[in-house]
């Protein structure tokens, strides 16, 4: 899977927010690489830094208070963090596109879909309005909106949630991006529509060969579409591996906890196995491992020693002391 050269490579990304109450390390040392045609899942709870990672790639961190303090984001070998705002604008929407969580609010309510799509196309492509309109029809067809031509004149509120997300996807694909960042694209949709949108993304990926970064908190989505997965906790990646490995052999106690908290249809358990406690306040992270206070396997050294990002097996990175110092030590259960 890693044989292809990566199109996007993120190395040791650190995005911090400098607030009055202290420095929030929203993203702290994230690294990953993604090749064309591949889907990377970024999983984590609210506030674990998933979306900030995505915004950092687009270079859209509100600054101040936010700032990318360290790291590099290599897109086709060039560091996006060294690009000027003008150069970035040419990349946004053209080479790297993004779709957002809530299709109800991510379309401008006062314009027709046509105006918004045509604008997107005209920002990046040398076309006249008529050609752009034809392209818009083509795109709506592509994402499976019936009677695309007629619906161009509609306003966003005249579309259902699933249809709006299709419109958003169509807009994101307008200029054939090479990387598509999907920030919880199905969270606001109901389950049947979710499946349709995921299928649509998978089909489009196959047809267009783009790389997809799928940000989600839903392991079900990961199981369905991703090739590789990065689990994030409190701004740090804690585990990064192939999807199948993650589901079969999760190593980090947090990943294990996430897996256990999925309700199983087969078992008759009354209570969900939730992970105890709450994610820490990012302004005042505990010393040592951020997850230690909630971890059922925490050792004394976990509270003082921050584990390193180590490659446990081939293509399997984990950040946990359980594996760091003594690889033979098995989770005591």
């Amino acid at each position: 899977m890693n044989s292809k050269t990566p199109i996007l490579e993120v190395n040791q990304l650190h995005t911090h927010f400098f607030t009055k109450a202290g420095v929030v390390k929203a993203v702290d040392g994230v690294s990953f690489a993604i090749s064309p045609g591949e889907t990377l899942g970024i999983v984590g709870e609210s506030g674990s830094g998933k979306s900030i990672t995505a915004m950092s790639i687009m270079n859209l961190i509100p600054s101040p208070p936010g700032k990318i303090v360290d790291g590099e984001i290599l897109f086709k070998g060039e560091d996006l963090l060294k690009k000027s705002e003008k150069q970035m604008r040419k990349i946004r929407g053209k080479e790297i596109s993004m779709i957002f969580q809530d299709p109800m609010t991510s379309l401008n309510p006062v314009f027709t879909v046509e105006k918004q799509m045509v604008e997107t196309i005209l920002v990046h492509e040398r076309m006249n309005k008529k050609q752009a309109k034809e392209r818009a029809v083509e795109l709506l067809d592509l994402v499976g909106i019936p009677e695309a031509r007629g619906r161009l004149k509609n306003y966003p509120h005249e579309f259902s949630g699933g249809m709006r997300q299709r419109v958003m996807i169509a807009m994101a694909l307008a200029c054939n991006p090479e990387v598509l960042i999907a920030d919880e694209p199905t969270t606001a949709l109901d389950v049947t529509i979710q499946a349709q949108i995921l299928d649509l993304l998978a089909r489009l990926q196959k047809e267009l060969g783009m790389a997809i970064i799928m940000i989600t908190h839903d392991l079900g989505v990961v199981a369905e579409v991703c090739d590789r997965v990065m689990v994030m906790y409190a701004g740090k990646p804690v585990e990064y591996t192939e999807k199948n490995t993650l589901f079969e052999l999760p190593k980090h106690p947090y990943t294990v906890g996430l897996m256990n908290s999925i309700p199983r249809i087969a078992s008759k358990q009354e209570k969900l196995a939730a992970i105890e406690g709450l994610p820490p306040d990012l302004r005042a992270l505990p010393g040592g491992c951020s997850f230690a206070p909630r971890c059922s396997h925490a050792m004394e050294s976990c509270l003082s020693h921050d584990p390193a990002w180590t490659e446990q097996a081939a293509n399997h990175h984990v950040r946990c002391l359980l594996y760091e110092e003594d690889a033979e030590k098995v989770v005591s259960e």
């Binding site: 596109s97 920002v123 249809m163 049947t192 349709q196």
Partner: protein
């Protein structure tokens, strides 16, 4: 949602809701307009405004006399069949003067509010969108402007610019800027945090484009309400300035100036001041009722 068949697999090509295919297009503004008409008070306001517009447009037809034609033998005539609302101290027909005065009032209302709106929207939009130091500077200047009583500020501006109707309109326009700037700024602050603005940024749109094409059109509703309400105030302020001799100059049939000219005869010929006063009252009432109705109609919380 329950209509989705449970047995068949759902390939992505299957449209999820066939029933919604191309529904009849309705827009925010059409909805708002129908709500507006349903409210009695705003409908009355709308009627008054329409009446004003018709009278202004058809002034030569509606008027019975030349508004500046003096008949010194017919001074201070009481309302009668020939002079419906009586005559003033120079024997001019008050009805005809009021009719022609609608033109001046509309002109004042539109131009003064236009000046306030353009400057206010620009300042408020820039302050709200870019924030930080530029916001601080603009809004502190606005605060200073607001610290003066509006009519006093207008008087001071006219005193500097010179007394004329044009200068009165400019002065009233400037006095109205703070209201627009504040409303626009606060609306921009909330609109710029919405996801579709973030999406516009993710598409690669420039700041100017985002502000003028995406943010400001979404701030239109409060701006329109403020503009409608401001027209009434502007007409009233202009009448005040003209009353003080700082606005419209004789012989133009401006309502405030008519009040001023007639005040000497208040005891003997009350119709000279009563009717222009009534005209001002009616027009300001009309714009205020309409503006209030518009605000309710555009308020999404009241939408059923």
């Amino acid at each position: 949602m329950a209509a989705i068949p449970q047995t068949s697999p759902t390939p992505p090509e299957v449209p999820e809701q066939k029933t919604t295919a191309t529904p009849k297009s309705s827009s925010l503004w059409l909805d708002a307009f129908s709500r507006l008409i349903r409210s009695k008070t705003s409908f009355i306001g709308l009627l008054i405004i329409l009446l004003l517009l018709v009278v202004a447009a058809m002034a030569p037809v509606v008027a019975t006399h030349d508004p500046t034609d003096q008949q010194l033998l017919d001074r201070y005539l009481a309302p009668s069949g020939d002079h419906w609302l009586g005559t003033d101290e120079l024997g001019r027909d008050i009805y005809s003067r009021i009719v022609y005065g609608t033109r001046i009032s509309i002109q004042i209302g539109l131009i003064a509010v236009g000046i306030s709106a353009v400057i206010g929207i620009l300042l408020g939009g820039i302050a709200g969108y870019f924030g930080r130091w530029i916001d601080q500077i603009i809004m502190r200047v606005i605060d200073i402007l607001m610290a003066f009583p509006s009519i006093l500020l207008a008087i001071a501006l006219v005193a500097v610019l010179g007394a004329s109707l044009t200068n009165a309109m400019i002065a009233i326009g400037i006095v109205g800027v703070p209201q627009f700037a504040r409303i626009v700024r606060s609306t921009v602050l909330s609109v710029k945090e919405t996801e579709y603005i973030e999406a516009a940024r993710a598409i690669g749109a420039k700041n100017n484009r985002i502000l003028f094409q995406h943010v400001l059109p979404n701030c239109l509703a409060p701006i329109i309400v403020q503009a409608t309400l401001s027209i009434g105030t502007a007409i009233l302020d202009a009448a005040g300035l003209s009353f003080l001799g700082l606005g419209a100059q004789p012989p133009s049939p401006e309502w405030g100036a008519m009040l001023s000219d007639g005040r000497a005869a208040l005891q003997t010929a009350p119709w000279v001041v009563a009717f222009p006063g009534l005209a001002i009252f009616l027009v300001v009432l009309g714009f205020n009722l309409f503006g209030d109705g518009l605000r309710d109609a555009l308020d999404p919380r009241l939408k059923q």
